[in-house]
């Protein structure tokens, strides 16, 4: 590891992040209807999808454990943040969203969402991670279903907030829920949170923690034969991942005025299905953080065009029918990606800004090699 090189890389990435933030701050204050009605909601959706995919990647791609209940943690985060912000709003702590008090509320809600999701992660992780493979998948799948039912039946969580109305599967009041105007003017906040979360996760992966969990993925027996407590690292990673799913949940509550547990349910065909997140991670590449970001945005766009693209209406009738079953389209997308890139778009490599200048050359040599292979 060359130190100078590392410092330079950090600097370049920092500059890239600053440019990204400046772009989004400018967009946030630029008045434009397309921006407000189309781009801003899309950016918010991408924000939580990216965090969901990246945090699941820690467990699935790096630790190598199949968890099918990731959206359960997101639901916990969404409800926690919505209820807390609502309580603060009702207590008169903030009235306007454009105030320092709301900023504090937002921070408190996000932190609370993350911490509660992490606590649930501990409770689920300790017994569940004794199991492996299919058994772990089934128990986490069960967790995802249980959490939805649990939220539906919490006596103090009513339709209008804590202790308001009978237990319900929907929450129509939400202190965080942004209107379209607010979604646009706070867009940069969402992006900033994603940047912070991604940085934290990348730092985790590129430290002794990342090394040990990849070792566990490769060979559990050898990992403990090198003096590492595998249960500790498994639970730590699971909880760490749940923590970020909680943050994604808080972002979800920012992007939605009302919450319904059905959005996080396993039977739901939308993009907030735990299996959809698993597919996103696999498409992006298990063990690649940048892959998860690319795949989350890509899957979102796919979902968006299926639902809103005018080209769908122009298709012949039988094809249009296919598009009324989005899950079918995702499966086809998965199959196509796996056909051409068996290890996902990025495999276990990362997309670094440093590699980009070398891309034209690499692509050229790729085609040359292919041609040469054909001629032989």
């Amino acid at each position: 590891m060359k130190k100078e090189n590392t410092a330079f890389r950090y600097l370049i990435n920092l500059v890239a992040i600053i440019i990204l933030m400046v772009v989004f701050v400018v967009l946030s204050f630029h008045s434009n209807n397309t921006l407000k009605l189309k781009v801003a909601p899309a950016v918010w959706q991408c924000c939580y999808l990216i965090i969901m995919a990246a945090s699941l990647n820690l467990v699935l791609g790096y630790l190598g454990q199949l968890s099918l209940g990731h959206c359960g943690f997101m639901a916990v985060g969404a409800y926690t943040s919505a209820l807390i912000s609502l309580a603060l709003q009702r207590a008169g702590f903030y009235t306007e969203k454009n105030s320092i008090q709301f900023a504090i509320t937002l921070i408190i809600s996000i932190v609370a969402a993350a911490v509660v999701a992490a606590l649930i992660g501990v409770i689920v992780g300790i017994p569940a991670l004794r199991l492996k493979g299919d058994y772990l998948a089934i128990i986490t799948l069960g967790f995802g279903m249980i959490i939805v039912n649990l939220i539906n039946n919490i006596p103090f969580c009513g339709q209008q907030g804590l202790a308001e109305g009978a237990a319900s599967s929907a929450l129509y009041a939400n202190g965080l829920g942004f209107t379209n105007d607010e979604k646009q003017s706070f867009m940069w906040v969402g992006v900033l949170i994603v940047v912070l979360c991604m940085t934290t996760m990348v730092m985790f992966v590129r430290s002794k923690f990342g090394r040990v969990i990849r070792a566990i993925r490769d060979n559990e027996i050898a990992t403990s034969a090198t003096g590492n407590d595998i249960s500790y690292y498994k639970i730590l990673t699971f909880v760490f991942s749940a923590f970020f799913a909680g943050i994604a949940g808080a972002l979800y509550s920012c992007a939605n005025v009302s919450l319904a547990t059905t959005s996080f349910a396993f039977t739901n065909g939308s993009i907030l299905n735990s299996v959809f997140i698993v597919v996103t991670v696999v498409v992006g590449g298990m063990g690649s953080m940048t892959g998860s970001v690319i795949a989350a945005i890509g899957m979102f766009l796919l979902n968006y065009t299926i639902k809103n693209g005018s080209w769908v209406n122009a298709l012949p009738e039988f094809l249009k029918n296919v598009f009324t079953y989005p899950m079918l389209v995702y499966s086809i997308a998965l199959v196509i990606v796996i056909l051409f890139r068996p290890k996902g778009i990025m495999g276990d490599k990362e997309l670094s800004l440093f590699d980009i200048p070398g891309y034209p050359k690499r692509i050229a040599s790729y085609f040359k090699n292919k041609k040469a292979a054909k001629e032989v």
Partner: protein
């Protein structure tokens, strides 16, 4: 000549039963500091099971294991390794998707002083520790002449080097006793000769005690100071290589009566 070296590893009536099968019974061994002891026996005799018992992979159903005077039987596998027993595996178990240097770094983890906070905020402590560990890892790889392959993914190494990397990784745990399970299995004569050299270097440099399982008799007779023979889980002979080579019971165990 009286042996004045201290005993590192000692077992007392060690045994394990799987269902009705007594895989190992009444196994007693004493290994002194810096000593190289061979453990041999026909296929299925229980040699690997002894290793699994010593490293806490299996819990013994009888007897006890002591490292110096500390009782280590009953501890978990990673605790045993932290106490000072490291091993390699009969069927290689590398972290195959990780690079050569990362394989070694994983074994250094217990020496890493930074926590989650330092890792995420990249404190000076993080950089300092990582730098030191990288240097230590490179030094270790140099001994096995793997330093120029530090960034190669482990599964791309040739077989002989994979074996060597596994030994290097075991040494990185900073152990007092090294258990080698058939390190020469599947190696060609040049690779075996290279391995022999490695074992010599390890003994000189690290002064560790080694317990070696091996089927290659010339290798065993060549390097071991003492040999213990087991058959069907029972110790049938123990002594100097010459004694073992001429022991009637051992010959019968290997060739059948």
């Amino acid at each position: 000549m009286e042996d004045t070296r201290k005993t590192v590893l000692r077992t007392q009536h060690l045994g394990i039963t799987f269902g009705g099968l007594k895989a190992v019974s009444d196994f007693n061994i004493e290994i002194k500091e810096g000593e190289l002891v061979g453990l041999i026996g026909p296929n299925g005799a229980g040699k690997t099971t002894v290793f699994n018992l010593l490293t806490g992979v299996y819990k013994p159903t009888e007897g006890a294991i002591f490292l110096y005077d500390e009782k280590i039987s009953g501890k978990k596998s990673h605790q045993v390794v932290q106490a000072g027993i490291a091993r390699t595996f009969q069927n290689i178990r590398l972290f195959h998707q990780m690079t050569v240097i990362e394989n070694v770094l994983v074994a250094f983890t217990k020496d890493v002083k930074y926590g989650l906070f330092s890792a995420i905020f990249r404190t000076p402590a993080f950089w300092k520790t990582e730098k030191e560990l990288h240097e230590k890892a490179m030094e270790l790889l140099k001994i096995f002449s793997l330093d120029d392959k530090a960034d190669v993914v482990a599964s791309n190494l040739p077989y002989g080097e994979q074996r060597k990397l596994e030994i290097a990784r075991a040494l990185a745990t900073n152990m007092k006793v090294l258990l080698l399970d058939e390190p020469a299995a599947g190696m060609n004569p040049t690779e075996t000769a290279d391995l022999l050299k490695c074992i010599k270097v390890i003994r000189e440099k690290f002064k560790v005690a080694i317990l070696l399982i091996e089927h290659d008799m010339s290798l065993v007779m060549n390097v071991c100071e003492r040999i213990q023979v087991i058959s069907f889980g029972q110790t049938i002979a123990a002594g100097l290589p010459e004694e073992i080579a001429n022991n009637q019971q051992v010959i019968e165990a290997y060739l059948g009566k």
